[in-house]
């Protein structure tokens, strides 16, 4: 008897089983919100292909997007690491920030409005399509059930 062309699987570590175990754990952590992180949302913008292929990931991605959508325009503590001139430099930076704040708040608050509308729009589209698919699946199941009943009868 000839040897198979390729030996499927390998002795020793069952990497496929470990991979499945890791993925299962990841799925649970995604559901629990462990990956709801704006940084991940930004990293995933480069792999939009996932959005087409993985329904569960769209939910995860939109959650990440919600976290990333708001530009942080809160006031912040102004510091200076150079010890010698620190008090002077801090006062200078505060003065500059005081002058710029009005303009930056105006710009970023408008940007936040646009971001929020875009994110809400995407979520709305996702929900609409999810509902539409659900209705079609229910209708298909009903038609299959009726078809099966006719054949059986």
């Amino acid at each position: 008897m000839s040897e198979p062309l390729f030996q499927i699987g390998a002795d020793g570590v069952d990497a496929a089983a470990i991979e499945a175990e890791i993925r299962s754990s990841v799925d649970s952590r995604i559901t629990a919100g462990a990956f709801a992180d704006a940084r991940i949302g930004r990293a995933e913008r480069l792999t939009l292909v996932n959005l087409r292929r993985d329904g569960a990931f769209i939910t995860h991605y939109l959650r990440s997007l919600r976290d990333a959508v708001e530009v942080d325009i809160s006031d912040f503590e102004i510091r200076e690491r150079r010890a010698g001139l620190a008090p002077l430099l801090v006062r200078l930076k505060k003065a500059i920030w005081g002058l710029l704040r009005f303009y930056t708040y105006r710009l970023w608050s408008q940007q936040n409005q646009v971001n929020s509308m875009l994110a809400a729009g995407l979520e709305g589209i996702d929900e609409q399509y999810a509902a539409k698919i659900r209705r079609l699946e229910e209708r298909l199941a009903e038609l299959e059930r009726r078809g099966g009943g006719t054949q059986g009868g």
């Binding site: 699987g9 990497a15 496929a16 470990i18 952590r29 992180d37 995933e44 996932n50 995860h60």
Partner: protein
């Protein structure tokens, strides 16, 4: 069926330097194996060296390259503007008319002199590839009954163009690098299983010092390695982003080393090693904690197999059926679906050294068995005899 006595290997460029692509290297290697077996082999190629300009930079004529006879033919004049216009439309996913598809193909790289040679000569078999060059389609149209494609097929828009699909239906057979590639050809081109064989390419066995690369480069932290062309289509920017986020979220000081050609985004945790001599690349592979292949479009995954040979396990993009197939068969890698998988899998391999070492050992055994030249020769010559 008798083995062929004479073979022409048609390839757009001769891979006698470091600039040619993986497919051209593969075809040259197959030509060398056939010549080493005592078959009459001539490698037919163009005078071009750049796949951007396709300018005729070499002199036409025959030269000897070890056991191979290589014959260079001039590239025909072409309208690169028309070609690029349709190429870009295809890349965007647009549907072309039959006339536009033919215009795209007609303005790809061709050589009438090479086709005339194929008509005049009486080769038993013509090995031609990769699939998406006009030269391959043109050669296959000259003697389809004797042509065996080495397509290096990817699931990309160009593969669905009508003349390409028709080529799969017309040729004598195909040599594939993997089972997923063979299945893809069946899906796209309707190629019957009986006309396809999975062959691949041999990986030279090597041992490399795992500490040498880090010592030479002053690396004092574990690193993930990527080798190959650095471009968006290969998933390289995504990998850099993943590693950046991984470092921030886990607090682990893991670096990303990239070898190969192409631009790299400047990050403080990325070491751009550039094009390395083969020995140093192998040391980089042996010293990496994990090799990462983020590409979705691969027909074999040569660098993945080399990293397995170096004893290093891998993380691959689950979107690549071929890379996932290699990991499944070897037990030497995990496939990630998205960043959360990547983080969990990399974290596991960094934290669990016994697991990492055992997976690495499995990968090395796998390549030594399945991708030795003896194994490749057995598959190649059986394919040539039976196709």
């Amino acid at each position: 069926m008798a083995a062929p006595a004479s073979i022409a290997v048609v390839v757009p460029r001769h891979a006698d330097g470091v600039t040619a692509g993986g497919a051209e290297t593969l075809l040259r290697q197959l030509a060398l194996r056939c010549a080493g077996r005592g078959l009459r082999v001539r490698l037919l190629t163009t005078c071009a060296t750049s796949h951007f300009t396709w300018a005729n930079e070499r002199a036409p004529g025959v030269v000897r390259d070890g056991p191979l006879e290589v014959e260079y033919f001039p590239v025909d004049d072409r309208d690169a503007g028309v070609f690029l216009e349709h190429q870009q439309a295809l890349s965007r996913g647009a549907d072309l008319t039959r006339e536009q598809e033919e215009a795209w193909l007609a303005n790809s790289v061709h050589s009438r002199a090479l086709y005339d040679h194929l008509r005049a000569a009486d080769y038993d078999r013509v090995l031609a590839g990769p699939y998406l060059f006009g030269l391959t389609v043109g050669a296959a149209r000259v003697r389809p009954d004797r042509t065996v494609l080495v397509p290096c097929l990817h699931d990309e828009p160009f593969a669905y163009v009508s003349p390409i699909r028709e080529m799969f239906g017309a040729v004598r057979g195909c040599l594939f690098n993997s089972e997923p590639e063979r299945d893809l050809a069946a899906r796209i081109g309707g190629l019957p299983e009986a006309r396809g064989r999975v062959v691949g390419m041999g990986i030279e066995p090597f041992d490399a010092d795992p500490a040498a690369f880090a010592a030479r480069r002053g690396l004092d932290a574990p690193y993930v390695l990527y080798s190959g062309r650095r471009e968006a289509g290969k998933g390289v920017p995504m990998l850099a982003e993943y590693v950046r986020v991984f470092r921030e979220r886990t607090g682990r000081d893991v670096r990303l080393v990239m070898t190969g050609s192409g631009p790299v985004d400047p990050h403080p945790f990325v070491l751009d090693a550039g094009m390395l001599p083969e020995a140093e690349k192998r040391e980089a592979m042996a010293g990496a904690r994990v090799f990462c292949h983020p590409s979705r479009l691969e027909s074999l995954g040569i660098v993945l197999l080399e990293s397995f040979m170096a004893g290093t396990p891998a993380l691959v993009n689950e979107g690549s059926e071929v890379l996932q197939w290699q990991c499944r068969r070897s037990g030497a890698g995990f496939g990630f679906r998205h960043y959360p998988d990547f983080e969990a899998m990399l974290d596991r391999l960094l934290a669990d050294e016994p697991l990492r070492a055992r997976m690495g050992a499995q990968g090395r055994r796998f390549v030594q068995t399945e991708y030795s030249w003896a194994a490749i020769d057995a598959r190649l010559f059986q394919a040539l005899e039976t196709l």
